[in-house]
């Protein structure tokens, strides 16, 4: 039997679509503006920012310059490594810790939750010198591993904080049933809790990825060498040299954001699968 859904009434549907469409345009307009202007000459950008590139205003100068002057493939590889590895570690370790905080009653549970949240309560740059000294002590300056360790540590608090809330929402009867069947705590976590919280895990993965991908500060401090340079750092150096040549700046910004957009588009299919498949029904 199919149920008549009120949301499919034409009027409602029209109103819904106009609101969503309007907001989508607002979200996309600035991004599109950057991309189209990155293909225009400096003067055309200034004179007619809203126009599409025409044969007379079209130029690839900015792209040519940045690809000639910087080792973009290497920067991309570095950014990819220092984003993906911490992302995986954060998701795994944070889900485990959040499960422990949400599921088990032990002394100091709340205190532990509070301790694990300190990282999002203090401006992270405060620890700069201290972190650098630790990295120097481990002889890891100018290595990708330094960034991987620091990003993992920094991604954990927020991920644990959010996931704890969702781990609490795992239905009790499922867990109890499994325990009655003699399943170990590890099995309950990996085979019940993780699949059931996939929507939240997918969401948190995106939240974790964005600040790491976009970070400029720690590459500058921990790994400024040419061979460990990330995209953001490379782009920043480039922009420093051409700060007011908008054509070059917009090309560099476009190149810096494209890999993240592509990664997200790619993941978002997985994300949606996760969201729908994992929904607790």
């Amino acid at each position: 039997m199919s149920i008549q859904n009120p949301n499919l009434r034409p009027l409602n549907s029209l109103a819904t679509h106009s609101v969503l469409l309007a907001y989508t345009l607002l979200a996309l307009f600035p991004i599109v503006l950057v991309v189209i202007n990155s293909f225009k000459s400096r003067q055309a950008i200034f004179n007619e920012p809203l126009a599409w590139p025409t044969p007379s205003s079209f130029t690839l100068e900015g792209y040519v310059r940045i690809l000639e002057r910087s080792d973009f493939a290497l920067y991309f590889y570095n950014s990819f490594v220092v984003t993906i590895v911490p992302l995986f570690l954060v998701m795994l370790f944070a889900a485990m810790a959040a499960w422990a905080l949400a599921e088990y009653r032990f002394r100091g549970n709340r205190l532990m939750a509070l301790y694990l949240a300190i990282g999002i309560m203090i401006p992270i740059r405060l620890g700069t010198v201290s972190i650098l000294e630790i990295i120097v002590g481990l002889n890891l300056v100018n290595t990708l591993l330094a960034l991987i360790l620091v990003y993992t540590a920094q991604g954990l608090p927020l991920a644990i904080f959010i996931l704890t809330e969702y781990m609490r929402q795992v239905p009790r009867d499922l867990k109890e049933a499994a325990r009655c069947d003699g399943a170990s705590e590890y099995r309950i976590f990996f085979q019940i809790a993780v699949p059931l919280t996939r929507p939240a895990l997918a969401t948190v993965a995106v939240f974790t990825m964005v600040p790491i991908w976009n970070d400029l500060w720690f590459p500058l401090i921990l790994a400024p060498a040419e061979h460990t340079r990330t995209i953001q750092l490379g782009v920043q150096q480039f922009i420093g040299q051409y700060s007011t040549d908008w054509n070059s700046v917009l090309s560099a910004l476009t190149l810096a954001v494209m890999p993240a957009l592509i990664l997200y588009m790619f993941f978002s299919r997985q994300l949606i699968r996760g969201l729908t498949a994992g929904a607790v029904k």
């Binding site: 003067q43 010198v129 650098l132 990295i135 120097v136 400024p224 007011t244």
Partner: protein
């Protein structure tokens, strides 16, 4: 067989030793803009003279430079050579033990006292950075617009305002390419650019420091009064105009006059769509004296943790040489070597600006020395009130009072 292995080992060892014998110096700098010049022009000259030393230029963008270099110095990962900001920022590094004392280097004699003073302790006992270059402040203008409107280069304050009036009324050009979004321009290229003519350059600066003058005296209020009139000549919505916007406005030929410093010359050489020229800050009254802000801006010191201090000293000696002075002044256009050597400047606008030294008195930025030591810091206060005066959000008198109150709250000679 055995001997050939030994031979190979020995060879490998010898090669390693030869490689490790070459020292590599790393330069920390905020001059991202010049990185090509350093790598392609300046460093190869030094390396040709010193084949056993390799130099690497490692710039960080100006906004992050001080914080990141400080962190690296503390943790011991900073480069061998540290580019020095003038006055207190570097003095503080020296006092914290992050810069070597260079007083005894013979090459220091290539510089006048005024050049060394930006990197010397208050008692004059120790100098910790080799002076490199100064920047000169003034105005760039678009001669095509001046010709179109039949304008002469203004000499006095009245002529300057008359020129602005004409541009405003008789054309659609923006008279002044200047904004207040980034705030620093209102002090570094406005107040301390036009101000010295009012307060008599060095004399006025010293009077503030010894407490015989105050910011509320007429000669220090007058530049604010002048600035309060600029609002109508600046571009529409100048309150949110950034420095980059101003540069674009001028280089695309939309604005007639651009208050700035000599460091901008190289940018406009690349970007301006016309031949630009420069004129010095105006005099006050017909027989007023011309005074320019000729600001000691950049030097270089040695990281005490460097394992290559000897090589670093060789590099600094080269920085103090006549060859470097000529090279730097002409390659890094708009930065003028501080050494005593006579250098011919090839770039026409840079040559024009350095010639002002003949006719005009020189001073440094008003608040560079000592005045930035306390809380509130005069640099930040001057940015804030200068921008508010330009925005019309504060009267010149209020601006002067706020500055004076802040200054006298911590500076004993003013109490």
């Amino acid at each position: 067989m055995r001997s050939s292995i030994q031979y190979a080992l020995g060879l490998a060892l010898a090669t390693t030793m030869a490689v490790s014998h070459a020292t590599t110096l790393t330069i920390e700098s905020w001059r991202v803009d010049d990185s090509d010049l350093w790598e392609d022009v300046l460093i190869p000259v030094f390396e040709a003279e010193h084949p056993d030393i390799q130099v690497r230029f490692s710039p960080t963008s100006p906004t992050e430079y001080d914080s990141t270099v400080n962190a690296r110095l503390q943790a011991g990962t900073a480069g061998d050579l540290i580019t020095c900001r003038p006055f207190d920022v570097s003095l503080n590094l020296y006092q914290e033990g992050h810069l070597l004392d260079l007083t005894d280097m013979a090459a220091m004699d290539n510089f006048e006292d005024f050049a060394r003073s930006a990197w010397t302790t208050d008692d004059g006992a120790s100098t910790f950075c080799m002076p490199m270059a100064s920047v000169i402040h003034g105005f760039l203008y678009n001669p095509e617009i001046f010709a179109e409107l039949d304008l002469e280069v203004p000499r006095t304050e009245d002529e300057f305002l008359a020129v602005l009036d004409t541009i405003e009324q008789e054309s659609s050009y923006t008279p002044l390419a200047l904004g207040t979004n980034d705030q620093w321009e209102s002090n570094q290229i406005v107040y301390t650019n036009i101000g010295p003519a009012f307060w008599g350059g060095e004399a006025g600066r010293q009077a503030l420091l010894d407490g015989s003058a105050s910011f509320t005296d007429p000669e220090f209020v007058a530049p604010f009064e002048h600035m309060a009139r600029w609002g109508e000549y600046m571009g529409r919505g100048y309150e949110s105009q950034t420095y980059g916007d101003s540069q674009n406005l001028f280089s695309l030929g939309r604005a007639a006059i651009y208050p700035t410093g000599s460091w901008d010359i190289s940018y406009f050489n690349q970007q301006a769509l016309f031949e630009f020229d420069a004129f010095p800050p105006f005099r006050v009254g017909d027989d007023g004296q011309c005074v320019i802000s000729d600001h000691t801006d950049i030097g270089m010191g040695i990281n005490p943790d460097s394992e290559n201090a000897e090589a670093a000293k060789l590099f600094l000696e080269w920085l103090a040489s006549e060859g470097f002075a000529r090279l730097y002044t002409n390659e890094v256009t708009g930065f003028f070597s501080l050494s005593k050597h006579e250098v011919e400047v090839r770039d026409p606008v840079a040559a024009e600006m350095i010639n002002w030294r003949q006719d005009c008195d020189s001073t440094i930025r008003l608040n560079a020395q000592i005045m930035n030591r306390g809380t509130p810091n005069m640099e930040q206060e001057l940015w804030t009130v200068g921008s508010r005066v330009l925005n019309g959000a504060m009267t010149p008198q209020e601006a002067a009072e706020r500055i004076q109150n802040g200054f006298s709250s911590w500076y004993a000679p003013q109490q």
